[in-house]
């Protein structure tokens, strides 16, 4: 398939996944912000979010003081914020538009209809209906586009690049959520009740609350949360699962330039498959996640170089 086509498919999936994860992160912060807390704690909650997204400097420059409703508007609507949900959904649709001949009619219509809906949405309408409902809607549209992809697309190369985009983005996003929340939770919070609510909010943000109960049948403990979200291969948003999917799909699209990229993906996959949570905690979760995000970034660049950036004239 055309390199440019693969590139658009890859980014279409990444932007849709990013929109979903941004909605998830905003949703959890919004819920936490509704709990009784000091103004400093409230501010920390939103600052942490901006840091996850590496957007704190840009936010302060354009919006000034960190305050809940302003952060929400910035993260949902701001045209200058490339990661705002609106911009992600637009970018997903633009990428889909550029390759609509490759997509099934159902998938294209799903992407297009999502954008048409969000294009007409204003902060006033959204606040009137409730932001919670909006986050649910974004998640639902992302579920829908993924379901339509799986349910209608031929499982050929195009499908593989869509899957690569989805799981590479999700791996990065889960790692970010975990990194910031884990630091805030483990270092700053001793009070048990609040602790419980915050951990459960984190689990909710990745749809893992019921999963946790099912897997551990136990009280919520930070170590087990880390184990579930990093190492559990059955958990669809865990790092282990995401990297596994990246590795599998990469092997399916292999070309004569991609051996090293596949090896690195395999190495990362193996380290998660055979990893142990006590070792990770002992060596420090933050350095581990930091390294992990670097490796995901590296894989993204390598996939670009091997497959997506047009091969230069070889003649």
């Amino acid at each position: 398939m055309l390199s440019r086509t693969a590139d658009h498919l890859f980014w279409m999936a990444r932007y849709m996944e990013r929109a979903e994860n941004t909605a998830r992160m905003l949703d959890v912060c919004y819920r936490v912000s509704l709990m009784p807390q000091s103004p400093e704690e409230a501010e920390q909650n939103w600052i942490a979010l901006l840091r996850i997204m590496s957007l704190e400097p840009q936010y302060r420059e354009t919006c000034g003081e960190v305050e809940g409703s302003r952060v929400l508007r910035f993260m949902i609507f701001d045209p200058e914020n490339p990661s705002s949900i609106r911009n992600c959904l637009r970018a997903a649709r633009e990428n889909a538009h550029a390759v609509r001949d490759t997509l099934t009619a159902e998938l294209w219509e799903t992407m297009n209809a999502t954008w048409i809906k969000v294009r007409g949405l204003t902060p006033e309408i959204m606040e009137d209906r409730g932001v919670g409902e909006f986050f649910e809607w974004v998640k639902y549209r992302s579920h829908l586009s993924r379901g339509v992809t799986i349910g209608t697309m031929l499982q050929d190369e195009a499908w593989r690049f869509i899957r690569l985009g989805t799981f590479l983005e999700r791996a990065d996003n889960t790692a970010r959520i975990l990194d910031v929340k884990y630091q805030v939770l483990v270092t700053e919070d001793d009070e048990e009740d609040a602790d419980y609510h915050r951990w459960s909010a984190l689990l909710h943000s990745v749809s893992a609350f019921e999963v946790y109960r099912k897997v551990y049948r136990d009280l919520i403990s930070p170590v087990k949360v880390a184990e579930l979200l990093i190492l559990n291969p059955l958990m669809p948003r865990s790092l282990a699962r995401c990297v596994r999917e990246v590795f599998v799909n990469l092997q399916e699209v292999a070309n004569d330039r991609s051996a090293e990229t596949i090896r690195r993906a395999g190495e990362l996959e193996a380290s998660l498959r055979f990893g142990r949570v006590d070792v990770l905690i002992e060596q420090g979760l933050h350095p581990f996640l930091d390294r992990f995000m670097d490796r995901i970034y590296d894989l993204g660049n390598r996939i670009s170089d091997d497959f997506l950036i047009p091969v230069r004239n070889t003649g």
Binding site: R100, T102, V311
Partner: protein
């Protein structure tokens, strides 16, 4: 002077419904305005959701609009179509022979049938094509010939579109929509199918591959997602199952054209290009073209790749060449033209110009190189001020214009704000020329939605209708 006399497609003398419209007329009578309205809304929602849109130049960039779809079909009888089909094939064959002749022997110029300066001074004439052989001597592989009915219903050719004619996707989508909204109509009328058009197009493209390519790779080339006809480019690529490429996806090495794929370079043999000559190759044509492929023309001239339509074919669809087409048919085919031309005044001719200036109120004046209904004057429906403004432009550069009598275009019942009322229509059938000449029955019917308007172009607010050819 509004046009009051016109051929009504559905109703004949004395208010009698023509036989081929009998069923649709009964169906219309039974249909409530509410149901019509609901069906129209349903059609628009479906078109919108699937992004069947076009971009309008000159408005805020990137906006996309729907082409209004009218749910009352336009019907052509089997015998009318049979004449049209023969006439169209004849015309396109003569036009292809003409283009070939101009780039080779120039017999028609030597015989003095067309003044050489009209051809060789044409902006669409490409010196680069002199002596270049093309597969099966076909230049206009895809031709969209605009047909109107006037007077008592006789057909006229209004213009030949031989460069990158568009609209076929609407023909196909309108049919799909119609079958979805009103399946009962297709049970009671024998409507000739059109949905094999992409197959015919692919066959045509494969038949003109460079010699020796038994299993040629065909692609559709688009200027990109922001082009007004992008929907159609993507649609045709998808329906044919071929890649939709942009210039940046292609490169030329040793006169072969390749596309950049995830599995490395892959050779391509036939390019159905939806991009004008000017932008094809920055090393030959416009240097600033970001849309083209350096070296493409060299590969083309070397016979390593087929471009459809051929480079330089535009000289034959120029409005200043149009008056000579009947002569071409006699000259190359030794036949009498089956379809009529509209009488045309060439403003570069002094006698014609003075006639045109004296009769602007009654004439339609068009730019020789114009398309899409831009830059034209429809005398009878224009204000004094518009006519005077146009007169100045005409006097300043008469060579840019031709004029024709204002035809009272036929009208077809159309669902508009005030209910069902006649609106003027035209017809664009598509003629595919490769090893053989193929057509699907009918074409795209465009309708001027404003009362009395004769401008059917989608860029000027025109709509479309499903076009039926009834089987005998």
């Amino acid at each position: 002077m509004p046009i009051t006399e016109f051929y009504d497609e559905m109703t004949g003398d004395g208010g009698l419904v023509r036989p081929h419209y009998a069923d649709v007329s009964k169906w219309l009578d039974k249909m409530s305005a509410e149901r019509l309205d609901r069906k129209r809304a349903e059609a628009h929602a479906l078109f919108h959701r699937s992004g069947i849109t076009f971009a309008v130049y000159g408005e805020d960039a990137g906006t996309e609009r729907l082409i209004p779809f009218d749910i009352i079909p336009r019907i052509i009888t089997a015998s009318e179509w049979s004449t049209l089909k023969r006439g169209l094939k004849q015309r396109v064959m003569a036009l292809n022979a003409f283009i070939r002749d101009i780039y080779h022997e120039r017999a028609i110029l030597k015989d003095g049938l067309i003044p050489p300066e009209d051809v060789l001074g044409n902006a669409q004439y490409r010196q680069e094509m002199i002596g270049v052989a093309v597969a099966h001597d076909v230049y206009a592989h895809i031709a969209g010939v605009d047909i109107v009915r006037a007077g008592e219903g006789e057909f006229y050719v209004l213009e030949d579109n031989l460069r990158v004619p568009s609209g076929v996707s609407y023909m196909l989508e309108d049919r799909r929509m119609m079958m979805r909204l009103f399946p009962e109509l297709f049970a009671s009328n024998r409507v000739a199918p059109v949905d094999h058009y992409p197959n015919l197009l692919l066959d045509t493209m494969r038949s003109v591959a460079p010699a020796g390519q038994d299993d040629p790779t065909v692609v559709v080339m688009t200027p990109g997602a922001y082009n007004s006809a992008y929907f159609e480019h993507a649609f045709l690529a998808q329906q044919m199952g071929v890649e939709l490429v942009e210039g940046q996806d292609l490169f030329v090495a040793d006169d072969q054209v390749y596309m950049r794929t995830t599995q490395g370079p892959r050779r391509i043999d036939v390019i159905y290009r939806r991009i004008d000559d000017d932008f094809l190759d920055p090393t030959v044509f416009r240097k600033d073209s970001m849309l083209g492929v350096p070296g493409l023309l060299q590969a083309y001239r070397a016979g390593k790749v087929t471009l459809a339509n051929a480079v330089g074919g535009g000289l034959a669809d120029d409005k200043s060449i149009y008056p000579y087409v009947p002569e071409m048919i006699r000259f190359y085919l030794g036949e009498e033209p089956i379809l009529k031309n509209v009488p045309t005044y060439r403003c570069r001719d002094e006698g014609d110009l003075s006639y045109v200036l004296a009769n602007l109120d009654d004439l339609v004046v068009k730019e020789v190189h114009g398309a899409g209904g831009y830059g034209m004057l429809v005398g009878p429906t224009s204000s004094k001020a518009q006519i005077e403004a146009f007169r100045e432009r005409l006097v300043a550069s008469p060579g840019k214009y031709i004029a024709q009598p204002t035809l009272s275009l036929s009208a077809c019942p159309t669902f508009v704000e005030s209910g069902v009322a006649p609106r003027h229509i035209d017809l664009r059938p598509f003629v595919l020329s490769g090893k053989e000449v193929h057509m699907v029955p009918g074409g795209l019917t465009r309708v001027a939605l404003t009362e009395g308007s004769l401008v059917v172009n989608s860029s000027q607010g025109g709509g479309t209708k499903d076009t039926w050819v009834l089987e005998a």
